[in-house]
C-alpha cells in the first residue's frame, strides 16, 4: 500500500508531528497509515542481547517500564522530554526518528546507546545504526515503501550508564537548542572501558562524536578529561543561527551539556 501510493502516503504513529505539518499545510498526504494497528510496533520485548522497542510505543509507555528505565535511563528521559504529558501519551521514538529533525531529543540518546533501527519494506527487513538513519533535516535513509518497525537497544553490560541533557530557553515545551547524550561502561575500578557521546541540534543531523570515546576510554572523569570532552563537543558543532539559538551559543553550550551528561552517565555507571 505504502509502495503503491508513493510519496504522498504517510505512515504515522503518535501523529504529534504529522498532524502539525498537515495543519500548517506543509504536507497534504493522500493516504495515512496508522502504524499502531501493527501489533509488533506496540511492544517492548527484552530479548537475549537486545531490547526491542516497537516504533509505535509511546513515551509514556517507555516511562512506565521500570526495567527499561533501569537499563537505559538516559534514553527514556530523552523520550520523556518530548513535549508535554499530553504529547507523551502519543509521541513515539519511531516518529521522532522518522520526523528527522536535527533537534529530535531521542535521537542523540539512541546514538549514544548504540541503538539500531529495524526497517521493513517490500524487500524484507534490514537494520541500520541510528546515526545513519537521518540523512538531512527532514530526510531519512528509508527507501520507497519502507517503514520503521522497531528500535533495538543493546543489553548494557555491568557498570554501564547513560544520560541525555538538552538546553531549552524555558523549562518545558521547547525544541532542543542543543542536546548531548553520553553512554559509558566502567570497569570494577571506575575506569571507563567503553563510551559513546552524541550531539543534537548542532548539525544537519544528530551526530556521534567519535573522538569522545578516545578521551573517555581508559580514564576516570577528571577535570582535564571533562575539559577535553567539552572541547571535542564544541569542535564537532556545525550549527546554524535561527529562532532557537545562535551558532556561538549552541557551540558553547554543547560543551557544557556534554560534560554534565558525562557526569550523570558516570554516576549511573558506578551504581549499576
Amino acid at each position: 500500500m505504502l509502495g503503491a501510493e508513493g510519496p504522498k502516503a504517510k505512515v504515522f504513529a503518535g501523529g504529534t508531528d504529522l498532524l502539525v505539518q498537515m495543519k500548517e499545510q506543509l504536507i497534504e498526504p493522500s493516504l495515512l497509515i496508522d502504524l499502531k494497528k501493527i501489533a509488533e510496533t506496540r511492544k517492548i520485548a527484552f530479548e537475549k542481547d537486545v531490547v526491542r522497542i516497537g516504533a509505535a510505543v509511546t513515551g509514556a509507555e517507555m516511562g512506565e517500564n521500570d526495567k527499561l528505565k533501569a537499563m537505559w535511563p538516559g534514553v527514556v528521559e530523552a523520550v520523556e522530554l518530548i513535549g508535554s504529558y499530553q504529547i507523551q501519551g502519543r509521541a513515539t521514538m519511531g516518529g521522532n526518528l522518522c520526523n528527522a529533525s536535527p533537534a529530535a531529543d531521542s535521537v542523540p540518546a539512541l546514538i549514544a546507546a548504540d541503538a539500531r533501527v529495524v526497517i521493513a519494506g517490500p524487500n524484507g527487513t534490514r537494520e541500520v545504526a541510528v546515526e545513519k538513519f537521518p540523512t538531512a533535516p527532514g530526510k531519512t535513509c528509508l527507501d520507497k515503501g519502507e517503514f520503521v518497525v522497531s528500535i533495538l537497544l543493546p543489553i548494557p553490560p555491568k557498570h554501564s550508564g547513560d544520560a541525555y541533557l538538552r538546553f531549552i530557553p524555558r523549562t518545558e515545551m521547547d525544541i532542543a537548542v542543543v542536546g548531548a547524550g553520553v553512554a559509558m561502561t566502567l570497569d570494577g575500578k571506575g575506569t571507563c572501558t567503553a563510551a559513546r557521546m552524541s550531539l543534537g541540534a548542532v548539525s544537519a543531523t544528530a551526530q556521534l562524536v567519535e573522538p569522545a570515546a578516545n578521551i573517555l576510554i581508559g580514564n576516570k572523569l577528571t577535570d582535564a578529561v571533562l575539559e577535553s570532552l567539552a572541547d571535542v563537543a564544541r569542535k564537532a558543532c556545525k550549527p546554524i543561527d535561527d529562532k532557537r539559538g545562535t551558532i556561538k551559543f549552541r557551540t558553547q553550550v554543547a560543551g557544557v551539556l556534554a560534560c554534565r551528561a558525562a557526569k550523570i552517565a558516570w554516576q549511573r555507571a558506578e551504581k549499576n
Binding site: K23, E24, Q25, F167, P169, R170, T171, E172, M173, D174, I175, V177, D242, K243, R244, G245, T246, K248, F249, Q252, V253, V256
Partner: protein
C-alpha cells in the same frame, strides 16, 4: 453622591472572596467563547495573506476562486470603501479609519508578512482554503524595513507615500516613516545635569511582544436583506467593534447589533477589528451567515503586538539621591500603521518622581510589521524598563538602597505628571514602605542569584459606561453592563450592587448586554471596568432604591423623604407603629400592580480614575554556564484603591507579573532577512509555562480613590508596568553586568557572562 458608601467601613459583599457568578459555566465547558457558536446555514471564511512584508499590489484576479464549487463570495479591498487620511489635531492614540480599512484589507500595498489581501466564504473550510490558492495576486516586491531607528532615517524604504512627519514646520517635502513625536518638558535639563554629582546614561532596546490570549479571534456575521447585521464576536468591547464596523463599512450604527461572546483573554489584543468587517461584507455578498476563525499562525502574523523600542535615558542626582535632571528619548515601532502609544511613554518615564528638570520625547515610527495594538498598560512597560533600569544603576552608583532612592524622590498628593496630570490621593509612599518592610526584601540570596526591584506607574482611564438594572417580580435583580467580563468583573458588579441594595449576592444576576439594549460602553480595557462600569452599576442600583422608597411611600401613604432604605428593606418613618419594613422581595411583588416594573439605568462618562503604583521585587537564579534564568521569588506591592473582589485583584497582579517575566526573558518575534515571521506559534513564541515561574505574592495596599463610591482604582495594568524592569534588574545583579536589552534570552546572557569573565581574566 458618595456619602453613603464612603461612610461604611464594614462592607458585607465588597472586599469579600465570593465565587464568581459565571464560574460554574467556565469549569464545566458550558461557557460559549467566540468560536463555540454556530449559526444555521453559515459559511466558513478564510483570508488570503501576503507572503511579502512590503509589496505593491499590482492586480488581484479572483475569477478562478469564484468559479470553484462551494465558493459563495470572494472579496478584496475593492469591496470595502476607502477613507481619507485623518487630519490634525491628532488624539493621544491615533485610530485613523484610513489605516484601519487598509489593515483589514490591503489596498495599494501589502505592508507586512500576513497582511490580508483577499477573503473567501465557502460552504466548508477546506473549500475556502482551496479557493485561496486560486486567487492570483501580482506583487511588486519592495524592500522591507523592521528597525524603528533605521526606519526613521532619510533614505529608508517608505511605507506610506502620503505620510509626512507631523509637527515639523515647514511641512517636509518628502514622506517619512516617522509619523510624529510627542514630548514633555519641565525646568532646565542642562542646568539640572550640571547640578548632579552622579549621572547615569544608557541605551535600551525592547522587542514587540504579543498579548498571547489563548482564545483565537472568531466571529460570525449574519447580514439581512434590509441592511441590518447581527455580529457575534470575541472582543473587549462590542460597542467599539460596532463603531469600527459602521465606520469601515459606512453602515448606520443602529443597524449593526453586536453580541460579545465570552472572551478567552484579550490584554488589549481584542480592542479593534480584524475579521469582523470582512465577515460582515462576505455575509452581505453571499446572503448567508459567515463564520471566521483565525488560526494561531494568522494571529501571530497579522494581529497587533505592542511596540518594540529603542531608547536612551540619562538621569543625574546629588550624592544624597535627590534627582536633579532626567532626559529620555524613545523610538516606538508602530508596525505598518501609525498609532503607537507615544504619549504614554512621556507620561510613564519619570512621573513617579519629583524631578525639577525633565525632558522626554517619543517617536512614532512605521515599519513592516503588524499594526501596533494595545497590550496591558500600552506603551508603559518599555518606557518604565528604560527609566527604572537607569535609576537602579544610579542607586548602585550612589551606593543607595533602591527603595530609599525612590522614597527620596517620590511624588505625593497634588504633584503633577510630565503630561500635566495632577495626582489626587495616591499611595506611592505606602507602597514603597510596605515593600521595604516585606520579609522578601531582607531575605538572603543563594549562589548565582540576583535581586531586582522596579516601580511602575500607570494613569488609569475612565470613560463611557452604561448599565441597566432590572428588578424582577420575584425580587431577583438583573444587572446588565456593556462590558465583556474578561477576568471576573461580573463578580465585582454583583458585589457593588448587592452592597447598595443590602441583599444577598445570589439575588443578583450580572449579565453582559448586547449593543442594542444599552447605551454606549467603552472597552473592557484601561483597567476601567470595575471603576467606570462599577460606578454606573452603583448609580443604576441607587435609582432602583429611590424607586423602591417611592413605592413604599405610596403603599404606606407617607412622604418619600420619610422612607429609609436599610439592609434590603424600606423602613417606615418612626411613629407609624402599624407599618412594618418591606423587603426588596415584597416590594418587587407589588411593583407591577402599583405603577409598573422597576428599573434603573445609568450612562456615565467617568473621570478621576487616578494613578496607581506597583512595586515589584524579584529574585532570579542564572545558570552561569548556559545563561538560563529561573525566577525564584516574586513579590508585588500595589495600591489597588479598594479591592472589590480581592481574589481577582490578586489574579490581575499575578497574571501581569508573569506576562512581564515572559516579556523580560523569552518572548520575541523572529523575522528572516525578507521580514517573514519565523515563529508563528506558541512553540517558539515562548510564553511562560507553569514550571517557568514561582508563586507571585500579591500584597494589596488599599488607599481608596476619593473619586469613586467604593474607592476603586484600576488594578489590571500597573502590575505589568515594572515587571520587565524588575526581572532585568535581578538578572543584572545575578551576573554583575548592566544589559540594556530585552528579552534577556540565554544567548544574550551567556555572551555577557563570558565577556565579563574574559575582561576580568
Amino acid at each position: 453622591m458618595n456619602e453613603i458608601s464612603k461612610a461604611k467601613s464594614n462592607y458585607k459583599w465588597v472586599g469579600k472572596r465570593t465565587p464568581r457568578p459565571d464560574g460554574i459555566d467556565k469549569v464545566t465547558g458550558k461557557a460559549r467563547y467566540g468560536d463555540d457558536m454556530i449559526v444555521p446555514g453559515m459559511l466558513h471564511a478564510k483570508i488570503l495573506r501576503s507572503p511579502h512584508a512590503h509589496a505593491r499590489i499590482l492586480s488581484i484576479d479572483t475569477s478562478k476562486a469564484k468559479a470553484l464549487k462551494g465558493v459563495k463570495a470572494v472579496m478584496t479591498h475593492a469591496d470595502i470603501p476607502d477613507h481619507p487620511l485623518m487630519k490634525p489635531p491628532y488624539p493621544p492614540i491615533v485610530n485613523d479609519m484610513h489605516d484601519i480599512c487598509r489593515n483589514v484589507m490591503a489596498r495599494e500595498k501589502a505592508l507586512y508578512d500576513g497582511h490580508a489581501v483577499a477573503a473567501v466564504a465557502a460552504t466548508d473550510e477546506a473549500i475556502a482554503i482551496e479557493a485561496l490558492k486560486l486567487i492570483e495576486v501580482e506583487y511588486e516586491v519592495l524592500k522591507p524595513i523592521l528597525d524603528p531607528m533605521d526606519a526613521a532615517q532619510p533614505g529608508a524604504p517608505i511605507l506610506h507615500d502620503d505620510q509626512f512627519t507631523f509637527g515639523i514646520e515647514p511641512k517636509p517635502d518628502k514622506p517619512s516613516n516617522l509619523f510624529r513625536s510627542i514630548k514633555g518638558q519641565r525646568g532646565d535639563v542642562e542646568k539640572g545635569f550640571a547640578e548632579a554629582d552622579v549621572i547615569v546614561e544608557r541605551d535600551y532596546s525592547s522587542e514587540p511582544v504579543h498579548q498571547g490570549f489563548i482564545e483565537p479571534l472568531a466571529c460570525i456575521a449574519t447580514a439581512s436583506e434590509n441592511d441590518s447585521v447581527d455580529l457575534w464576536t470575541t472582543t473587549q468591547g462590542h460597542f467599539v467593534i460596532r463603531a469600527l464596523c459602521s465606520k469601515v463599512l459606512k453602515m448606520e450604527i443602529a443597524k449593526i447589533r453586536v453580541t460579545a461572546s465570552e472572551i478567552g483573554g484579550g490584554f488589549g489584543g481584542k480592542n479593534t477589528v480584524y475579521g469582523e468587517p470582512v465577515a460582515i461584507r462576505l455575509s452581505q455578498m453571499s446572503g448567508r451567515p459567515v463564520r471566521m476563525v483565525m488560526t494561531r499562525s494568522e494571529i501571530f502574523r497579522a494581529t497587533g503586538p505592542t511596540v518594540g523600542t529603542r531608547s536612551r535615558v540619562k538621569i543625574g542626582a546629588k550624592k544624597d539621591g535627590t534627582i536633579t535632571a532626567a532626559h529620555a528619548e524613545i523610538y516606538y515601532q508602530a508596525g505598518a500603521f501609525k498609532g503607537s502609544p507615544v504619549g504614554r511613554a512621556v507620561e510613564t518615564f519619570f512621573s513617579a518622581y519629583t524631578i525639577p528638570n525633565v525632558y522626554a520625547i517619543a517617536h512614532d515610527v512605521c515599519v513592516n510589521r503588524p499594526r501596533v495594538a494595545a497590550y496591558r498598560a500600552p506603551g508603559a512597560p518599555m518606557a518604565c524598563y528604560a527609566a527604572e533600569s537607569t535609576l537602579n544603576e544610579l542607586a548602585d552608583k550612589l551606593g543607595m538602597d533602591p527603595i530609599d532612592l525612590r522614597l527620596k524622590n517620590a511624588v505625593t498628593d497634588g504633584c503633577e505628571s510630565l503630561m500635566g496630570t495632577k495626582f489626587g490621593h495616591i499611595g506611592l509612599v505606602d507602597v514603597l514602605e510596605q515593600m521595604k518592610n516585606h520579609p522578601h526584601y531582607k531575605a538572603p540570596l543563594g549562589p548565582n542569584q540576583g535581586r531586582g526591584f522596579a516601580l511602575g506607574y500607570w494613569m488609569h482611564g475612565g470613560g463611557l459606561s452604561s448599565v441597566s438594572v432590572n428588578l424582577q417580580d420575584d425580587g431577583t435583580v438583573t444587572v446588565a453592563t456593556g462590558n465583556p467580563d474578561i477576568g471576573g468583573s461580573r463578580s465585582s458588579m454583583r458585589a457593588m450592587s448587592a452592597e447598595e441594595l443590602g441583599v444577598d449576592i445570589e439575588t443578583i444576576k450580572p449579565v453582559v448586554g448586547d449593543t442594542s439594549v444599552l447605551g454606549y460602553s467603552h472597552l473592557t480595557a484601561g483597567s476601567r471596568t470595575t471603576f467606570a462600569t462599577g460606578w454606573a452599576v452603583v448609580n443604576a442600583t441607587r435609582e432602583i432604591i429611590e424607586k423602591l422608597r417611592a413605592l413604599a411611600a405610596k403603599k404606606w401613604d407617607v412622604p418619600v423623604d420619610d422612607v429609609a432604605w436599610e439592609a434590603g428593606s424600606a423602613i417606615p418613618p418612626a411613629g407609624k407603629g402599624d407599618l412594618k419594613p418591606m423587603t426588596l422581595k415584597e416590594l418587587a411583588g407589588i411593583a407591577t400592580k402599583m405603577g409598573g416594573a422597576i428599573a434603573g439605568h445609568s450612562e456615565i462618562n467617568a473621570g478621576g480614575a487616578g494613578a496607581a503604583f506597583s512595586a515589584q521585587l524579584v529574585d532570579v537564579e542564572v545558570d552561569p554556564e548556559t545563561g538560563f534564568v529561573s525566577p525564584k521569588r516574586y513579590t508585588v506591592v500595589q495600591d489597588v484603591g479598594r479591592a472589590i473582589s480581592p481574589d481577582y485583584v490578586e489574579g490581575q497582579i499575578q497574571g501581569g507579573a508573569v506576562q512581564g517575566i515572559g516579556w523580560a526573558l523569552n518572548e520575541e518575534y523572529f523575522y528572516d532577512k525578507d521580514a517573514k515571521l519565523q515563529n508563528t506559534g506558541f512553540l517558539d513564541y515562548r510564553m511562560p509555562v507553569a514550571s517557568d515561574v514561582p508563586m507571585i505574592d500579591a500584597v494589596l495596599v488599599e488607599v481608596p480613590n476619593p473619586n469613586h463610591p467604593y474607592g476603586v482604582r484600576g488594578v489590571g495594568e500597573p502590575p505589568i508596568v515594572p515587571a520587565p524592569a524588575a526581572v532585568a534588574n535581578a538578572v543584572e545583579h545575578a551576573i554583575g553586568k548592566y544589559m540594556g536589552s530585552l528579552p534577556l534570552s540565554p544567548p544574550k546572557i551567556l555572551e555577557a557572562i563570558q565577556t565579563t569573565k574574559a575582561a576580568a581574566e
